[in-house]
Symmetry: C2
Subunit: 170 residues, 2 copies
């Protein structure tokens, strides 16, 4: 069975993975959940090649997980948004985050990269996943997020490095 055959099963885990189990796909969805909208910014933060990013975005659009909206006509430019089907991947991202927080071997004093607080309950969402009990489907839309200084710096550096590589003099 090739990877294409993975969706050919009754198992919903395998069918889910046939959409989101591709390398990079969930990193793209993380960026959309964080409000990143434009091709270059997604590329800068994920570190994907533009060829691969373009393939993955096309596939995700075909899968109904994202949609693009033109924000400029000349030249034609698009912003990318998660559809409802895409937004409902948030619990998967949250579960991966919780596992990464617990098992990711940060130092004991490491600050959380993104502090996530429920808008409805004010509860800080950490590795416990308890928040998933509050409603049927967790969504980052229902949370306020604050980047730590360190993670904010990391993202700025990624963007700078990307721009330097793409536009910079050498």
């Amino acid at each position: 069975m090739s990877w294409d055959g993975v969706s050919d099963t009754l198992c919903p885990i395998a069918r889910g993975l046939s959409v989101v189990g591709e390398r990079w796909t969930l990193l793209i969805m993380r960026e959309l959940s964080m409000g990143t909208r434009r091709f270059d910014d997604i590329q800068a933060q994920t570190g994907m090649s533009s060829h691969l990013l373009s393939l993955r975005l096309k596939q995700l659009e075909e899968d109904g997980v994202i949609e693009r909206r033109a924000y400029s006509e000349r030249p034609k430019r698009y912003e990318y948004f998660a559809t409802q089907k895409g937004k409902e991947l948030d619990p998967i991202l949250l579960a991966i985050r919780a596992w990464g927080l617990k098992w990711g071997e940060y130092g004991p004093d490491a600050e959380t990269a993104v502090k996530i607080v429920s808008k409805t309950t004010g509860e800080v969402i950490d590795k416990s996943l308890r928040i998933l009990g509050k409603s049927d489907i967790f969504s980052f839309d229902d949370t306020e997020t604050t980047l730590s200084n360190a993670y904010s710096n990391e993202r700025e550096q990624r963007l700078d490095a990307f721009k330097q590589q793409k536009y910079g003099r050498r």
Copy 2:
């Protein structure tokens, strides 16, 4: 950034994905969660090549996500088990399952491939993820699972096809 660079970040989602974001990895973990223990059986149910499965198992062992235990000395043969770090991937599998159940385009009358019932509450675990609210970390160990006839048949057929290919006359 190559995929190897994905773990080099403060973001716990990216660090989690650097372990479980490889194609097939979560399918292997699904099999271990279902109690599949032996190389051939994992291969039969995932459809991976033996070369790739062997690489992935080695990597997962290095990552501390699985462990192997010898069940035969001559020839040396191993069974594979999730470690605690590996078992705590269950919430990710569950979240993917929930998404797959909702968005996987089964017919409206399709029976769930695996019925999962909480041992503590008797609650059927479906796509709502509410069960995650009951304790800090969901584990399939705390559930009873029953395969639908259709999915049970699918798995038997996979095993038969695999054995036919490996040992069968042609």
